[in-house]
Amino acid sequence: MKLRENDHIVGYVFISPFILGFLIFTLFPMFSSLYFSFTEYDLLSAPRWVGLSNYEKMFTDDDKIMDSIRVTLTYVLTSVPSRLIIALLVAMLLNRAVKGIGLYRATYYLPSLIGGSVAVSIMWRQIFGDKGLINAFLDTIGIHTTISWIGYPATALGTLVLLSVWQFGSSMLIFLAGLKNIPGTYYEAASVDGAGPIRKFFHITLPLLSPIILFNLILQTISGFLTFTPAYIISNGEGGPLNNTLLYSLYLFHRAFVFFEMGYASAMAWFMLILIGLITLVIFKTSKYWVHYES
């Protein structure tokens, strides 16, 4: 009996860093931010209770927030599907017995390892700048242009989407694992019945992979909404040109740390949380129509 109690203590000791960290760095800040979202708080003076007026202002008196939501939705709706499609295609390519396949898999995964980091974003700035790699390449094939792709309103957001698609590695790895789980016998049987590769893809691969697609879709959608670093670095922190790269998180950052409106920024953060929650819910609810579980 005594020994058992002792074992519990060891367990609690081991888990205490996590519990403490969770309480101090997650739960407490979360609820403080909920409180701050009902106040006017500039960091310098004490927060002042203003009730729902931050939320009211968000929906009635801030046209930039609509801009930023539009930009964020455009970003998520274009980058997430393209990223998943590319990830699936590459995963299928890498799901073959080719010599040195391990090396290929590692190489394709590499961009996601370095992730949405500052270094990659700076590199992207160089590549799409007016004297960057893209323009140099266009030059060699006879197209002379000096536009700065990241500074030009029509293409700025596109470069961010491309950066996101380029980092398809983690979704690809998960797809790869899913593909390995599909029994080869299904394909053999289909071949015997005379099915071609396209038919096999739509009738075997896609249905059996659908739970994995759902998982990736939700994960990528959430991370898409939270994208911040590339937009911050690539647009010099401005969200320009013409607010075309003003992602919601970047605008929230402006409100919090440039204009010192912590209360308003907290309200924005909670709105984002609710929005992401709703979208995830919708994806889950619709999933029963397209996700196929073997049982």
Binding site: V10, V13, S148, S235, P241, V258
Partner: protein, 442 residues
């Protein structure tokens, strides 16, 4: 019994890690440099006084400021100074949370645009008592210079140096295009003629930063960017906005300035300036930026007053930066002594080398004279000229100024990309900016 020591050991280790993390209170230190304390040779002696100082700047400024602090600690063995420094943008993002936690450094390098915000929130000490009892010696500076740090009659910051805006240009390039010199009392239409001629040579005029040169233009028309109480814009006739940006758009469309898709991405460092790159013939800049710009360009540059008419009314001398003492400081007298030394000590100012503007102390200015390089001399001459050809500075920016300037930037961008007509932008700016500033009414 044998088993107990393991969890106990783990617990002890955990405690050590937690203590180890929390005792190094360096979270406030800037992203661009690590916080450190310089120990002097006499560091064994008891440090009675501990000060914290924070500033922003580039690497060169960090280096000499650390040397300065070392020098001060050698002269005052009882004082130990902790340093925190960062680039300009990061600096303010770190300072605000410190203020929220009531942990501001004792000595804070302050920008005139933030002075109002911090003083109105009761974060800064009124320095009048410390200057009048001589702890902070400002006798060698002119009263007007000292008054620049005054808000509502209270002294919240000591100016460290002064500068003035002006036009920095590449005289050799102009000469190649057949422009021998620029008259002192030149105007915007002179500038237009020069820009036109220089465009023929493939050289551009650098963009003028919206939140500095539009206010200058307003001043030349006896108008102001902000009203004196800071609750609205300082002008009520949108025509000033329309005139300025119509002119700007005309020049931009004529190709006198570089494309906005390139301009909007520069970090405004001297190295990226078109003058330094050799693509540009002129940039409007502050006098304390002249030397770094000339170094980055690697060629001789000149400086002249801003285009008029009424340049004298538009031009003003501005504190480059100030030192403030936080209200929460427990060592206000010692902090004041350091600031006093900083502005009055000749040896210290030899290290500063005009990087924080023209020194405010007449004695220091005199003492530095034999050491001036040719570029230094140009800056000194320019500021001396500006002193005689300028008028009083506007009051420090009101709270909300950062948001108003962001609005103005958006307006300029939408005008240049032809998303808004100049007239629409003028109305929108006036409406939105006034709404932001109206929050200051209380």
């Amino acid at each position: 019994m044998k088993r107990i020591p393991i969890p106990v050991l783990l617990l002890v280790m955990l405690l050590f890690t937690i203590i180890g993390c929390s005792s190094s209170q360096q979270s406030a230190n800037g992203g661009t440099g690590s916080s450190r304390t310089i120990e002097t040779a006499k560091s064994e002696s008891k440090h009675d006084v501990k000060l914290r100082i924070a500033w922003w700047g580039g690497q060169a400024r960090h280096d000499y400021t650390l040397k300065l602090i070392e020098m001060y600690q050698q002269q005052n063995p009882g004082v130990k100074i902790d340093t925190e420094y960062a680039g300009f943008d990061d600096y303010w993002k770190k300072l605000a949370p410190q203020a929220a936690a009531n942990q501001l450094p004792d000595i804070i390098q302050m920008d005139i645009s933030y002075l109002n915000q911090y003083s109105s929130k009761n974060q800064l000490e009124d320095l009048d008592e410390l200057t009048s009892n001589g702890t902070l010696d400002v006798r060698s500076a002119s009263p007007e210079t000292i008054d620049a740090g005054r808000i509502g009659g209270k002294l919240y910051g000591i100016t460290l140096g002064v500068n003035a805006m002006g036009a920095t240009f590449d005289a050799a390039l102009l000469k190649q295009a057949g422009i021998a010199s620029i008259p002192v009392n030149w105007t915007w239409s002179d500038l237009e003629q020069i820009a036109k001629r220089m465009k023929g040579q493939g050289k551009v005029l650098d963009h003028m930063r919206f939140d500095q040169f539009f206010p200058y233009y307003l001043r030349t028309h006896n108008q102001h960017y902000f009203s004196s109480d800071g609750t609205s814009l300082g002008y009520s006739d949108p025509q000033y906005f329309i005139d300025y940006f119509t002119m700007y758009l005309k020049w931009y469309d004529a190709g006198y300035m570089r494309n906005w898709d390139k301009e909007s991405l520069t970090k405004l460092t001297p190295e990226e300036n078109p003058v330094a790159l050799g693509d540009g013939f002129m940039t409007m800049a502050w006098s304390n930026q002249f030397i770094t710009l000339q170094e980055a360009s690697n060629k001789s540059l000149n400086m002249i007053g801003m285009p008029g008419p009424n340049g004298k009314q538009g031009l003003y001398l501005k504190p480059t930066m100030l030192f403030s003492i936080s209200k929460s400081s427990k060592q206000k007298t010692e902090a004041a002594k350091f600031i006093s030394w900083f502005i009055n000590d000749l040896e210290a100012n030899k290290l500063i080398h005009g990087d924080r503007g023209i020194p405010i102390s007449a004695a220091v200015k005199e003492g530095l004279k034999p050491l001036l390089t040719e570029a230094d001399q140009k800056v000194y001459d320019y500021v001396a000229w500006a002193q005689l050809n300028s008028s009083a500075m506007d009051p420090p920016d009101p709270p909300g100024a950062a948001e108003v300037s962001k609005l103005l930037r958006d307006m300029q961008e939408q005008i240049l990309y032809r998303k808004l007509s100049v007239e629409e932008a003028a109305a929108k700016f006036m409406n939105d900016a006034n709404a932001v500033l109206a929050k200051n009414k209380k």
